[in-house]
């Protein structure tokens, strides 16, 4: 029996960190996720959104080599996802599962010591300290995990995932159940990791979280509904629009608004605001302002319509009314 350090090939920064092709997983005749394809670039923060039961956790477990896909192909950290490669893949990734799964009778440090051994981390004490510093838990190192609050346990689990300096980090709802301040700390940590070049696969229900942190998001509901940068998804689904408020309603809005460059159509909301679908916000806004002033209208505000990612999400999840495939 011997410890053999495995040679790790140099990290290839051009090949994708994750590549998934027509991946499916079934449990008996229940489909957990189906025909999912995407790629995640190195250093990218990729958001994986979807309602309860969409298959997010099952996807993480499949890519983390805990369960085998029913069909399809994937590469994780540059290594093809096959049963033989499980160990090699697990060396390069870390997963923070949905529930922290700490040894509650052990102290924070003892939990981390165990995992430092399992990852064969060099200089374990230094790494444990660094991981605890990253999640702001140095002064709780000798606390028994069973005595920690839910949020603190979550942070210990996060520290555990950082121990091995992974190439790809899977975070399964890392802020579930955290208060806003604690969630904010986790967000900051993810930002720091991103700057360090770690690829992050983040599942979440929190749309503002995905919007803030993720370079791209995918929306899953058993099948992949859409994928792209949050802003692009908004534009793609809702188009670009301007919202105009005036002190008095326009006497003849059609006369003022039609024919202005870049304005494609307009409508009036119940509250008296005018919504203009435009092809180019930067061209339309000044032109509209001039037209309104020329028509003698008192403009209160002109702003770009902000559809949230939540609007995108709800619209996509609602499509074909299939929130729960069972």
């Amino acid at each position: 029996m011997q410890t053999q350090p495995q040679p790790v090939p140099p990290h290839n920064t051009t090949s994708p960190a994750l590549s998934v092709e027509r991946l499916s997983k079934r449990f008996g005749d229940r489909i957990a996720f189906d025909d999912v394809s995407f790629e995640v670039g190195p250093g990218e923060v990729f958001g994986f959104l979807g309602p309860n039961g969409a298959g997010k956790t099952t996807t993480v477990r499949t890519l983390g080599t805990l369960i085998a896909p029913t069909s399809g192909l994937a590469t994780v950290a540059g290594i093809p996802l096959t049963p033989e490669n499980g160990l090699e893949i697990r060396r390069r990734i870390a997963i923070m599962p949905e529930s922290p799964g700490l040894y509650l009778r052990l102290s924070v440090k003892e939990n981390l010591e165990c995992f430092a051994d399992l990852y064969e981390t060099p200089k374990p004490n230094d790494r444990i300290r660094a991981a605890l510093q990253a999640v702001n838990l140095v002064d709780r190192a000798s606390d028994i995990c069973g005595s920690l609050s839910k949020g603190l346990r979550q942070r210990v689990a996060l520290a555990r995932a950082l121990l091995s300096d992974p190439e790809v980090l899977f975070l399964d709802e890392p802020t579930a159940g955290l208060d806003p301040a604690a969630a904010h700390e986790v967000h900051d940590l993810i930002d720091t990791l991103r700057r360090g070049g770690v690829t992050i696969f983040l599942t979440t229900h929190r749309l503002e979280e995905a919007e803030r942190l993720c370079d791209r998001v995918a929306i899953l509901n058993t099948t992949l509904r859409t994928i792209g940068p949050p802003k692009e998804l908004r534009d793609r689904l809702f188009g670009k629009a301007l919202v105009i408020r005036t002190v008095q309603p326009l006497t003849d809005p059609g006369d003022v608004l039609v024919g202005v460059p870049a304005v494609e159509s307009w409508r009036q909301d119940e509250d008296g605001t005018y919504i203009l679908v435009v092809s180019d916000v930067a061209a339309a806004a000044p032109a509209i302002t001039r037209a309104l002033v020329a028509a003698g209208a008192d403009v209160l505000s002109i702003s770009e319509s902000r559809h949230s990612l939540e609007d995108v999400y709800l619209k996509l999840i609602d499509q074909d009314g299939e929130t729960d495939p069972k």
Binding site: M1, T3, E88, R90, A94, R105, E120
Partner: protein, 240 residues
């Protein structure tokens, strides 16, 4: 296959730290040995010197080997299903650990306290007999070859018992039933030495060596067998 000593040690250390603070495990480790200790002590105090003659012809002490045959499985039964129920198995399985390493670390962590408890109980028994039993009883009971058999068979039986317990643990859905099944399944391990103790089969050196050889083989195969039974996906998802 290159096993990592460090990963095995990591599991081993974690298990011992956990067992120390886990009351149900301590109770299951302690209560069988206590029964096995109290019962013969009571008997020994009732007999007088005239019994010494009878005892000296039977390796009665071999009966104490039931402790390492039965107790370790009670702890080992906890090994996999206990972690599964606590939800701590999934994080461990996301690390680069091999199932052989995980299981060996767990088996060793169950072996060390079980062997320690067995030796201690035996030593206490011998001491009590030596100090308090009627004249001649101690000399009749405590025979050199039996002490040697105790020393050698304790770890061999304990290891076999542990593999049975872990095998049941990987297939169980709750700790209690795993422990109950393990106790039943390890009873055959206690039978050969009990039969020798009561002179049903002769306690010859040849038979002892044969039994030891079988146990060594079973302990090695037990590790392979339990590793093959260990199915990550089923343990994580509870299906298949």
């Amino acid at each position: 296959m290159n096993l990592s000593a460090r990963r095995i040690r990591g599991i081993f250390r974690k298990e011992l730290r956990d067992y120390r603070r886990n009351v149900p495990v301590i109770v299951s480790m302690a209560y069988l040995p206590l029964i096995f200790l109290i019962q013969p002590i009571v008997v020994i105090f009732k007999v007088d010197s005239s019994t010494a003659q009878i005892i000296s012809h039977a390796p009665v002490l071999l009966y104490m080997l039931a402790i390492p045959a039965l107790t370790p499985a009670m702890v080992a039964a906890y090994a996999v299903i206990g972690e599964r129920q606590q939800g701590t198995l999934e994080p461990v399985l996301t690390t680069p650990i091999r199932r052989e390493e995980l299981l060996l670390g767990k088996a060793m962590a169950a072996l060390v306290p079980s062997v320690a408890v067995s030796y201690t109980v035996f030593a206490v028994f011998v001491l009590v007999v030596d100090i308090f039993a009627a004249h001649g009883i101690a000399a009749a009971l405590i025979q050199g070859p039996q002490l040697l058999a105790q020393l050698v068979f304790t770890p061999l039986l304990a290891a076999a018992s542990i593999w049975i317990g872990i095998a049941i643990s990987t297939r169980s859905n709750d700790v209690r039933s795993a422990q109950a099944f393990s106790l039943l399944a390890t009873i055959p391990l206690a039978v050969p030495t009990a039969l020798m103790a009561f002179k049903v089969i002769p306690a010859t050196l040849g038979i002892a060596l044969g039994f030891a050889a079988v146990l060594v083989l079973a302990d090695g195969l037990g590790w392979r067998f339990v590793s093959a039974m260990f199915d990550r996906e089923r343990l994580i998802t509870g299906t298949r």
